[in-house]
Amino acid sequence: MSEQRKQWPLYEVFIRARSGLEHKHVGSIHAVDARQAIEHARDLYTRRQEGVSIWVVRSSEIIASDPGDAEALFEPAKDKIYRHPTFYSIPDEVKNL
């Protein structure tokens, strides 16, 4: 019990690299509260100008899929390769795709 209380709560960190891009998961940090979680995320993950915006989420708030359900969740997509947009020919005028 006392061991548990010594460890600060864990937060997952998401950084937006540039305006217009989405926030990406970059790692996690320990912090005592939300304000400090932002500060620690800033100090650890934006030291080299990696971002312009930070999200932090308590790791305990994340709901994850069960690895045991992986077959049921992900296998059915395997034989549906037509969902990949590789069957279209892309006009030359379209850049950046």
């Binding site: 304000r35 620690h40 100090d43």
Partner: protein, 261 residues
């Protein structure tokens, strides 16, 4: 006519040199103190946070000591000024040379200085010397973050557990006597103010007090009584602590003069 002009320029060059050292030494010595936590902070995250703040301060010191070396015109570099001066040549505030003791003391020292640098850099942006104004504009952004960090910890520790409250109050009680110097007259910063280089130290007190009192109240900490000012770091009179700090900081350059890597 030209003799008079030369004298005025010389006086103002000397003053700019001494003022740059006063501000630069304050940032440098605090950076060195914070650096002592590297590898020892209570959590990896705090280790990095303190090192980040130390690096901001070191950047300020480099800017100011390089400038001091330039205007002195004797060919001394930022490194010469940092590593080859004796304690009696340093004019940092006495507060920043005080030992870390524990995390509570370290945070109190940081908070008191951050609150002061907030006001200092805000005003220094209007310096008649562009090099000071440039430094202030950059340092102010850094200091706003430092203040956010240290004031957050003051509240967290002060209004935390019985033990954390006790320790941070002890830090405050021990360090408060060094805050008089921040606003005291009779030293280089007062001369600098008269020359339009920087703010009058006394003028920073009201805003500093308001910020500090607000955070202390939120942190349920008791503001110690003011004591008459007796510590003159900015007049180059230092406690024994500075000698020990410099012995460690300057060891390499003193032992292997000119060594580089």
């Amino acid at each position: 006519m030209s003799a008079v002009a030369t004298t005025v320029t010389a006086a103002s060059t000397d003053l700019r040199f001494r003022y740059a050292l006063h501000l630069g030494d304050t940032s440098l010595i605090l950076a060195q103190r914070l650096g002592e936590w590297v590898g020892h902070a209570p959590a990896l995250e705090e280790d990095l946070a303190l090192a980040n703040i130390a690096l901001d301060l070191l950047g300020q010191a480099r800017h100011l000591l390089s400038y001091a070396g330039e205007i002195e015109g004797k060919g001394r570099s930022e490194d010469d000024l940092a590593f080859l001066r004796d304690p009696s040549d340093f004019s940092n505030l006495a507060l920043v040379e005080q030992p870390n003791v524990d995390f509570g003391h370290t945070l109190v020292r940081q908070f008191l200085i951050d609150a002061w640098q907030l006001e200092l850099f805000e005003c220094l942006q209007g310096s008649s010397e562009p090099r000071f104004a440039e430094l202030a504009a950059k340092a102010l952004k850094e200091t706003r973050y430092h203040y956010r960090f240290s004031s957050g910890w003051m509240v967290r520790l002060g209004d935390g557990t019985e033990e954390s409250h006790k320790r941070v109050q002890a830090g405050l009680d021990a360090l408060w006597k060094f805050t008089g110097e921040l606003f005291a007259p009779g030293a280089v910063d007062e001369e600098a103010a008269a020359a339009g280089l920087g703010p009058d130290p006394a003028s920073l007190r009201a805003a500093w007090n308001a910020n500090v009192e607000q955070v202390l109240a939120e942190a349920t900490l008791k503001k110690p009584a003011d004591v008459s000012y007796r510590w003159y770091g900015k007049r180059q009179q230092h406690s024994e602590h500075l000698s020990h700090l410099l012995a460690e900081m300057q060891f390499m350059q003193r032992t292997y003069p000119g060594a580089q890597w």
